[in-house]
């Protein structure tokens, strides 16, 4: 998923089956032009990380159907390691999520997701 984004899965958390850790590499093109001299991960890319975690949980591509709530609390910078925790049973259509950096909450919310098999 997102093969051109240069977002690295560091390792699955063996102690928490609901959490996946990603590194947003400094050279990731997600930072291109956002912003020059002051790189910050675009807020919508937090949702991309959620989809990546859902893909790992469900072993199939997932798509957003809605964003019920998204709160962006802290910026994410190059080389940050982000832990994405998703709450909901496998293949659930509603997912509550939190993104944390070194334990600090950077964003959270609730999204609706769907698999491609359900795409009419």
């Amino acid at each position: 998923m997102f093969p051109n984004a240069d977002i690295e899965l560091i390792l699955p958390r063996p102690d928490r089956q609901d959490t996946w850790c990603f590194r947003i590499n400094k050279q990731s093109r997600c930072f291109d032009g956002h912003f020059d001299g002051h790189p910050i991960l675009p807020g919508v890319a937090h949702l991309a990380l959620v989809l990546m975690a859902c893909r790992l949980r469900d072993a199939q591509p997932r798509f957003l159907t809605e964003v019920r709530e998204l709160r962006l609390r802290k910026p994410v910078f190059p080389d940050d390691e982000i832990a994405v925790t998703i709450d909901g049973p496998p293949n659930s259509e509603l997912v509550r999520f939190e993104l944390r950096r070194a334990g600090e909450l950077v964003s959270g919310g609730v999204v609706g997701i769907q698999g491609r098999a359900a795409d009419a």
Binding site: G33, H34, G43, L70, L72
Partner: protein
């Protein structure tokens, strides 16, 4: 969206988004502003084919939210021009989104979208907008966003 005449806004046929937003390269999705007034903005946007989240000619629908956020940022920039002399585009941040609905799983790249952002309320540096992203008159993304702009 009518020109209300309450602010001395020029009637521009199209304003290049590059002059309004700090976004550059593939990050800037908004191309031009069609019309605006103190209530909101209508613009044209496009997802570049080489966007980092794009693959195989399509991009995730979440970039519709980014299109709406950039339209809101452009509106902030345009309306600020009438209250302060701004020498450079200020950075704005998406801080909240809610009730966002997607009618499609993916968005085509290199294809124009009509993006609207209607101001719902403001308490500077915060502002709230209702956004819609449409193509061929079909709404693909709609919802509410809150933004925070540099002073």
């Amino acid at each position: 969206m009518a020109y209300k005449g309450e602010l001395p806004m020029p009637k521009e046929s199209a304003i290049r988004a590059a002059t309004l937003l700090p976004h550059t390269l593939t990050a800037r999705l908004l191309i031009s502003v069609l019309r605006y007034d103190q209530h909101g903005i209508e613009a044209i946007g496009e997802i570049p084919a080489d966007h980092p989240l794009a693959d195989g000619g399509f991009a995730p629908n979440l970039l519709g939210l980014e299109l709406g956020a950039q339209a809101a940022a452009a509106h902030e920039a345009l309306t600020r021009q009438h209250v302060a002399d701004t020498s450079r585009p200020k950075i704005g941040y998406l801080v909240r989104a809610r009730h966002v609905v997607f009618s499609t799983h993916e968005l085509p790249v290199a294809a124009p979208f009509v993006v609207k952002a209607l101001l719902d309320g403001a308490a500077p540096p915060m502002a709230m907008y209702r956004i819609t992203v449409s193509r061929n008159e079909a709404a693909l993304v709609s919802g509410e966003i809150s933004t925070y702009s540099e002073i």
